[in-house]
């Protein structure tokens, strides 16, 4: 089990990111958590797609800027077509 807050908050960021990508970028709900993924998994691809759409630096990583944007108020309509 994660011993310190850092690990736990990392978990909640990952949950937030997972949910964000599911809601707005069509990430399949069963996609694995990206922490165990290589660079080319579906989740990393979705992070790239989101970063590109919202005008962020496309890193494929859940960096602080990307996480910050995921916390911003927004419209509930997806960014890519369902």
């Amino acid at each position: 089990y994660p011993l310190d807050g850092a690990a736990r908050s990392q978990d909640s960021s990952m949950d937030l990111a997972q949910k964000y990508l599911e809601n707005y970028y069509n990430l399949a709900k069963d996609a694995k958590q990206f922490v165990r993924e290589r660079d080319s998994g579906p989740v990393v691809r979705k992070i790239r797609e989101m970063q590109k759409f919202l005008g962020l630096k496309v890193t494929g990583k859940l960096d602080s800027k990307t996480l910050e944007v995921m916390h911003k108020p927004r419209c509930g309509v997806p960014d890519v077509g369902h």
Binding site: F53, V69, P73, R74, C75, V77, D79
Partner: protein, 378 residues
């Protein structure tokens, strides 16, 4: 910009909207005007026009809700998702839902209702999100826009016009004339004691007296009225109009001729006009109206037809039941056909031929009988 998959769009240009409920954060009329302003943003760049319904099914239903609210896409409490809307179509499609766990405001302190509504209504009309950070349809809410100078970005305009095209050819940028038209043989003399008017209305503090192809523009600060051609301001308006009135709360003047009417703001004829007078609720037997006057106290407009009058509720946008009534019944002393009418200083001025009746609506009596051109200081 982008459109929804399959590019759903409305197949008609006149749409109805209904505000189903209200947020406790704002007065109702603030919500009304925010929604109206948000619709106008799109109306100004397309052929689309909107009219409000107060009950029943409307194309665009606007509501406030929290958490799960019946569409399987629950809201998430304060922050994050502010609102969502559905692409054009029947039923829930076209509707816009606002998360009432947000703090809705008319300024940029909280979440500005006008800005979010303008965005959501973009979805209701068929726009999807834009990657352009300057665009209204960019997914993230940005509260730092100077609301007074809010403009759609070119990306938004290109997007909505890809669905509906541009507004109908609006008249060339109307000139703002400064020179009066010199009176000539065919122009009516303003001090002719037999002078009568086609229509009279206020407009942003001035009074306009229409006659055939011309009008006198009377400012209360200037003794001499300007005499101008209607076409210099409003090329698309007809001459020899029947009636005109200003709804000051909307900064709009409505012009009537025959069975049609136009809406103008300043010197701009609003898109989506002329409309048929029967859309206001007149029966087919009414083919034209003689005069109209807006009572800003009661927020009602009185339409005069021959020796009768109708009462229109400007808030509900519908004719009051129980009309027409005899004009003389409710306006004692006004017992002739009314050519034109307007309101000034709390009095109603009724014109009939070369006579003008000053009527006190509180005392419910005629207080003065004047010449129609008494305003020209002849």
């Amino acid at each position: 910009f982008s459109t929804f998959p399959g590019v759903p769009k409305w197949t008609k240009t006149h749409l109805t909207y209904r505000i189903v409920n209200y947020t406790p954060d704002l007065p109702k009329d603030a919500v009304d005007s925010a929604i109206e302003k948000a619709l106008k943003v799109w109306e100004e760049v397309t052929p689309l026009t909107f009219s409000r319904l107060y009950e029943g099914e409307a194309d665009i239903k606007i509501s406030f809700a929290v958490r799960e609210h019946g569409d399987f896409v629950p809201f998430d409490g304060p922050g994050n998702v502010l609102a969502h809307a559905y692409a054009p179509g029947p039923g829930i499609n076209g509707d816009a839902h606002f998360d009432d766990d947000e703090k809705w405001t008319m300024d940029t302190a909280g979440t500005n209702l006008f800005l979010v509504a303008a965005h959501e209504l973009g979805h209701s009309l068929g726009l999807f999100h834009s990657t352009n950070m300057e665009a209204l349809m960019y997914p993230l809410y940005s509260s730092f826009k100077d609301l007074a100078r809010f403009r759609l970005s070119q990306d938004d305009v290109d997007g909505i016009q890809s669905l509906y095209g541009p507004p109908p050819a609006s008249p060339e940028d109307p000139l703002v004339p400064t020179e009066s038209v010199p009176p000539g043989p065919e122009t009516p003399a303003m001090c002719d004691p037999a002078l009568s008017f086609d229509a009279v209305t206020t407009l942003r503090g001035e009074i306009l007296f229409f006659k055939d192809r011309h009008f006198w523009r009377k400012s209360l600060r200037v003794l001499e009225p300007q005499f101008l051609l209607i076409s210099t301001f409003w090329p698309s308006l007809p001459s020899g109009m029947d009636a005109a009135y200003e709804v000051t709360s909307k900064d709009t003047v409505f012009i009537f001729k025959g069975n049609q009417f136009w809406a103008i703001k300043g010197n701009e004829v609003q898109a989506g006009y002329p409309r048929g007078i029967h859309t206001l609720g007149f029966p087919p037997t009414v083919r034209r109206i003689d005069a109209a006057i807006y009572d800003k106290e009661k927020k009602k407009t009185y339409f005069f037809v021959e020796d009768e009058y109708w009462r229109f509720d400007e808030r509900r946008q519908s004719m009051d039941p129980g009309f027409p009534k005899q004009t003389a019944e409710d306006f004692p002393g006004v017992d002739t056909k009314v050519d034109a009418a307007f309101e000034q200083f709390g009095f109603f001025y009724f014109f009939s031929g070369s006579s003008q009746l000053e009527y006190d609506p509180n005392a419910k009596k005629v207080t003065h009988i004047l010449k129609s051109n008494s305003w020209f200081n002849c």
